[in-house]
Symmetry: C2
Subunit: 337 residues, 2 copies
């Protein structure tokens, strides 16, 4: 059955596991004949729940993992001790070549640590960045890095820029993606020590389309396709996006419910607004790949429902088909040589 792209899925991770994970997996294999999902988790529970679903059976297998890593657990210790957890078992499937990719909505820390320790980095990659797609006025941008690599060095950021470019070009289909570094002003001499050191290195990179600094204000306007920053800043950007969006939408809803007149208006604008807000919802775009590993690991939001799980599984196909890891390997080795 080598024609399948095999995606291991953590059935036990996330706020809505296992029901929404199973639902997303079943939706994915119904949409794509070329995917086989390896659903990793407590076999008895999963098989019981699967009995209620109808799906092409050769495209879905259950892989037993008796333990679950909780979000509150210390990542390194959890990966080391819970050898039969869905995250460790799923990652090992990728490491051993039994799966092409692993998708998890579970503990971010455990996924990041597990990716490095169990799946392992591509030779030459210094640090694997976590790179979610964020919605913009014009479409989406890749925010790289939002992972656990705090206190990054300039050489890390240069690799992030290269890996991000490859991803946006070949997975998202954006020709010659614009790369920018997050900064506090547009001028080259602005910035903190890290940005000032990284800027000329990015400028000297022949294989990316570097357009300079980007101020945070321009990110939602779609000012660049690949937004390079170190993980602390990336984490702030990603979470603030969520927070400001949520508060603004809830304020608008409350505003609309404040008078009879506006309540009637709200009924009329609701369908149009729903469509608008959907286009600004990160869950439309699947999960965040952890780039630079010897296999694909995708982290989806802890609150993921079936749709995001389905989209994340399907995303793995393009990643495989476009041989992203071969392209990263080539690019990093070329740099080393």
């Amino acid at each position: 059955m080598q024609e399948f792209i095999k995606v291991a899925v953590d059935a036990m991770g996330g706020d809505h596991a296992p029901d929404e994970i199973i639902k997303g997996a079943v939706e994915a294999i119904k949409l794509r004949k070329d995917i086989q999902v390896l659903l990793v988790g407590q076999q008895e529970i999963l098989e019981e729940k699967l009995r209620a679903c109808s799906y092409p059976e050769e495209q879905l297998k259950v892989v037993q993992a008796s333990e679950v890593i909780e979000t509150a657990e210390a990542p390194v210790a959890a990966i080391r001790t819970k050898k039969d957890s869905s995250i460790v078992v799923g990652m090992k499937l990728v490491k051993n070549g039994e799966a092409d990719a692993f998708v998890s909505a579970g503990s971010s820390g455990a996924v990041l640590v597990g990716g490095q320790v169990l799946v392992g980095r591509i030779k030459g990659v210094e640090r694997p960045p976590l790179a979610p797609l964020i919605p913009t006025e014009k479409g989406v941008s890749l925010l790289i890095d939002c992972g656990a690599n705090v206190d990054a060095r300039p050489s890390h950021l240069v690799q992030f820029a290269k890996m991000g470019s490859i991803y946006m070009e070949h997975v998202m289909g954006i020709a010659n993606p614009r790369v920018a570094i997050v900064n506090i002003g547009a001028e080259e001499e602005k910035g903190n020590a890290l940005v000032k050191e990284t800027f000329p290195l990015l400028k000297a990179c022949g294989d990316i389309h570097f357009i300079g600094s980007i101020e945070a204000r321009e990110i939602p306007h779609g000012g660049a396709d690949v937004i390079v920053c170190e993980a602390f800043v990336g984490n702030v950007i990603l979470k603030l996006y969520e927070g400001v969006g949520a508060v603004l939408v809830s304020k608008i809803k409350a505003g609309m419910m404040s008078s009879l007149r506006s309540k009637i208006g709200a009924l009329l604008v609701k369908p149009a607004l729903k469509q608008t807000l959907k286009s600004f919802d990160a869950s439309e775009y699947g999960g965040a790949p952890l780039l630079g590993l010897k296999g694909l690991v995708v982290k989806t939001h802890g609150s993921s429902k079936a749709k995001e799980v389905r989209n994340s599984i399907i995303q793995c196909v393009t990643f495989q088909e476009q041989h992203i890891n071969d392209k990263i390997k080539e690019n990093i080795l070329r740099e080393d040589g």
Copy 2:
């Protein structure tokens, strides 16, 4: 005339200078009998424009400054060479005790440099932070620092926390303000090197109400009153707030105009929405004080119109009345002793 609180105002700075600045100054003195505005800029132009306004004359004086510092100029050089610019002249009025405060919508860089070089720091203050108020679901929070102090040290952040607490308590009237440090997780062991070093120092501070880490997602929800971070992160937060808000509002407007049904609804919800969005508009809250100087310097947004200028001038009164600088001095000296 010593009963006046004297506020020097940069009449030449900002996108809408001098017209909106003059308008804001006139509005402020009409609202408060205890303010005298010293309008700093090109005398002939200002006097010409003032002839069209009616206002209590003893409350407004024009102070001549022939030069203007442009936003694109390098701040340090501009402050050094343009000795007769509105920023340099205004700052010197504060330094010489001829004005209690200086408000400018001009070049951020020049205001930050000028504040340090011309007005000078309070003894013991290591770095003066720029601290804007940002709107939240519940009201406003103080974001400290958004200035030019990149690559800050832990001791700077501790001083920011103290000065921010004093400001929120005595200018904004929030009893026992909650202080939090921006971090990438809620746990004490999370964060980059700067945050990990600063956290225990804040915890040990007797004179602030430290509640721990705050993730960026919780900032718009009003998770803390004083949001401590170094300037690079603060700048990203402030500008992303603006950017996400602007894009979301423009998307919502476009969505409402997408069908006849929603257009009719939009007419009905418009007044209620306007009210809602106003409460999430930073310009409602005046400018950002540059804290820790021997006098008050307030930076308002470059795009400020009369309302923000007026609010920023009035804000200076509370700052003086509450003897904020004496409180900062006391607090910092106590720490040193």
